[in-house]
Symmetry: C2
Subunit: 437 residues, 2 copies
Amino acid sequence: MDILIKGTIVPVTGPEDVIRDGVVAVRDGEIVYVGRLDGLNDFSADKIFGGAETAVLPGLVNAHTHAAMTLFRSYADDLPLMKWLEEAIWPLENRLKAADVYWGTLLACVEMLLGGTTTFADMYFFMNEVAAAVQESGMRASLSRGLIGYGPNAGEALAESREFILEWHGKAGGRVSCMLGPHAPYTCPPEYLKKVAETAAELGVGVHIHVAETRQETAEIRKQHGCSPVELLAGCGLLDVQVLAAHCVHVSPGDIEILAKKGTAVAHNPESNMKLASGIAPVTDLLGAGVTVGLGTDGAASNNNLDMLEEMRSAALLQKVAREDSMALPAYTALEMATIGGARALGLGQVIGTIETGKRADLVLVDLRKPHFYPPHDVVAHIVYAARAGDVHTVLVDGKVVVDAGQVLTVNVETVLDNVRESARGLVGKPKERSLL
Amino acid sequence: MDILIKGTIVPVTGPEDVIRDGVVAVRDGEIVYVGRLDGLNDFSADKIFGGAETAVLPGLVNAHTHAAMTLFRSYADDLPLMKWLEEAIWPLENRLKAADVYWGTLLACVEMLLGGTTTFADMYFFMNEVAAAVQESGMRASLSRGLIGYGPNAGEALAESREFILEWHGKAGGRVSCMLGPHAPYTCPPEYLKKVAETAAELGVGVHIHVAETRQETAEIRKQHGCSPVELLAGCGLLDVQVLAAHCVHVSPGDIEILAKKGTAVAHNPESNMKLASGIAPVTDLLGAGVTVGLGTDGAASNNNLDMLEEMRSAALLQKVAREDSMALPAYTALEMATIGGARALGLGQVIGTIETGKRADLVLVDLRKPHFYPPHDVVAHIVYAARAGDVHTVLVDGKVVVDAGQVLTVNVETVLDNVRESARGLVGKPKERSLL
C-alpha cells in the first residue's frame, strides 16, 4: 500500500524545518520520502490524504499514563492527594476486573488517537487486556505491569511481568513493546529494585517508574534512606538500565546531573502535577543538562483528558510562569518533547518521533482551516499554543490509517462508550449529585 | 419564538445544582422556565435543541480581551514582554486600519461563539468597527476604547470614547454596552484617571483597565507615586465607579482589601499571565476576600486562542500548583468565574451568567457523547477539566441560535478567514520561515 500525505510538513528535525506544500510518501508502513512533490519519483499513491491547509506532524507520544484510569475520569477531583488515593481511587481500583481494564484502555486509545497521540507508555495491571486493547486500536505502546515491591505479591508480580514481557514484547507487528514497571522508590524496597534492574538487563527491556513526584515522597525517602529518590535508584543500579522516570518534580541539581549521566529519560506531566498540586518540574534545567524529556498526560483521573496538544501548551506556559521567563520552553521545544523526546524516552527514537525517511509512518494531519488557526503566522506556534485534540483530522500508525475525518476506523467507538459506562456503573456505589451515570 | 432546550442543565446557581433530564424554555429571548419537563405548562416550542447527552450551561463570559489581536495570533511568541510589545506587536498595531480591526474582531467573535463564549469585554481601538462586528456576529459585548493618558492624543481619545459610548451603549438590541478604557496606571497619569472617573460617573458606565499585570509595573508605580497601582487608582477616585480590573497579578493583601471594599471586579487571565511570564494572580485570596472575579483570555497574541473552556481549566490547575493545594479553585468555582463571575464583573449579573427565569437566554449546549467525556462521573468536572471549544454544539445569545451543530449561523466564516489572511498579509513584511501566509 502506497500512501501520499500532502500538506505543510513539520518534521520536528529542527526549529525552522517546515516544508510548505510538501509531501510524505509512505510505503508498507515506512516513510520513504519527505519533501516537495516534484522531488518524488517512482511513487504512485493508492491513497492520498491531506491538502493545502493541512499540517503534518509526527504522531504524538504520551510518555506516561495509566490508560484504564479513564474509568475514573472526574470521579474524584479537588481533593488532597492521599485522600484522593485512599478514599476514592484505590477502593475503585480494588474492584477493577480484567474486562473493566480492557474497556477503559480501549477508551483511552480512542481518545488518544482522536487527539493525534499514536504511542503511549502505560503502567497498570491486567496488562494482557491492555495489550489486547492496544492491538485492536492500532496504536503503538510501551506497556509495563505496575509492581509494588512491598507486600506479599511482590515476587509474584515480577514473575507475571516476566511472562507478560515474553508474551508481548515486539508483538502486534512490532507496535507493542514492554518495560518493567516498579511503581516508585517509596513502594519498592532497594533489594526489589535491584532485582528489577537485573531482570530488565536479562530481558533487554527498559524500566518505567514514578520518581520524585511529591515533596512528601522526597522527604520520606530522605528520612528512610538518607538520600534523594534519584540517588536511591542510582545506588540500586536501576539507572544502569534504560529508565523512563515519570514526574521528577522534586529533583535537585545533583539529581539532574545523575539523570543526565545515566541517560535516564524523564516523562513530564504538567497538568497532572498541577491538578494534584505536586509542584513544577524543572524542565528547562533538565533539558539544559541534556536529559531526554518526554511529555505525558498521566491518568485521566488526574488530568482529566488525554489531550497531548493541550499538554504541550501547558508544559510551555507552566515553565514560563514558573521561571518568570517568557522565553523558557518555546513552542518548538514543547513539540519536540511531545514527539521525538517521548520517542527517545520510550527507546523508540530510531523508529518514530520525527518525519524522516526510514522511520515508521506514525503521522498526524491537523486541519488548519479553522478560526483559531487564523491568520497562519506560525504553524508551530499554532500547534502548540492554539490547537486541541478536536483539530486532528487524520492519523496514521505504522502506515495504517486509524483515524480519518475525525472518526476512528479501527474500533467501534459507540460500543466502547457503552461498555465503559457499564463498567463505571459496576464500580461506583451511589452516584454523586453531578454524575450522569 | 418559543425555544425548548433539553439536556442536563448546569444553571451555575450552586455547586450541586444539576438538573438531569431537564429543560430550559426560552420565549422572546428570555428564560421563562428551568426544571423538569413535567413542570412546564403552556409552552409549545417552535424549535427544540439538545438531547439526552447534552450539557446546558450559561454562555461563557470572556472578561478581558483585545478581540482584533487575533490578527497577531502566533506572530511573535516566546519573547520577553517589552521586546514582544516594542518590536513585534506595537509596530503592527501602528499599521492597523479600521477594516483590519473589523475582520480581526469578527474572527474573534466567530472563534469565541464556536467555543461557547457569548459575551466579552473588549478594549481596543477603531471601536465602531468592533461594535459593528459584535452586532453582526450576534454576540454580547462590553466595549471600551483603549485610552493612553500620556501623550498628545489623550484628550481627543477621551472625547472619542464619549462619542462612542453615546452612540453604542445599550445598542444592538441591548447586546452592546460600553465602558471607558484607560489602559493602565502606568500609561495614564492620575489627573487623567480622575477625568475618566468623572466621565464614567456622568455617563453611567464602568471602567475597564489593566492593573498590576507585571512586577515591573508595580515597581515603577511605587517608584513614581510611592504606592501600589491599586492604591493609586483608589486615590484618584477611579475605584468609586464600577471598575473591571484586568490581571491584578501583583496585588498585596492590602490591595485585595481595597478591591473588596470598593467592589472592584477582577478579570483573571491565567494563560496570558503564564505565556508572558507575568506571574500568578492570587485568585483564591481575591475570592476569599469577596472580590468578584471573572475569567479572560486576553488577546490572541498572548494566549493564543480564545477558548474559555480551556481557560477555566488553566485557572483551576494554576491556582492549585501555585498554592500547592489540590483543593484550591475547585471545578465549580472555575465555572462560576467563567459565567456569573464574568457577568457580574461586566455589570451584567442581573441579565446573564446563570440559567434562571427572567434572565436573557445566553446558553451553551455541549455534546457529552464523546470519548473524553466518558464515563460521565461528574458533569461539572468534565466541563472544567476535560472539555474544549470543539465540544460546543449549539449556542444561543439573547435567545437567538447563533451556532448549531458546530457551525456559526450569523457570519460567513470562510469570508472572515479569507479577509483576515489578507489583512495579515498587508500588516507583516516578509513572512517568517514557519508562516503559511
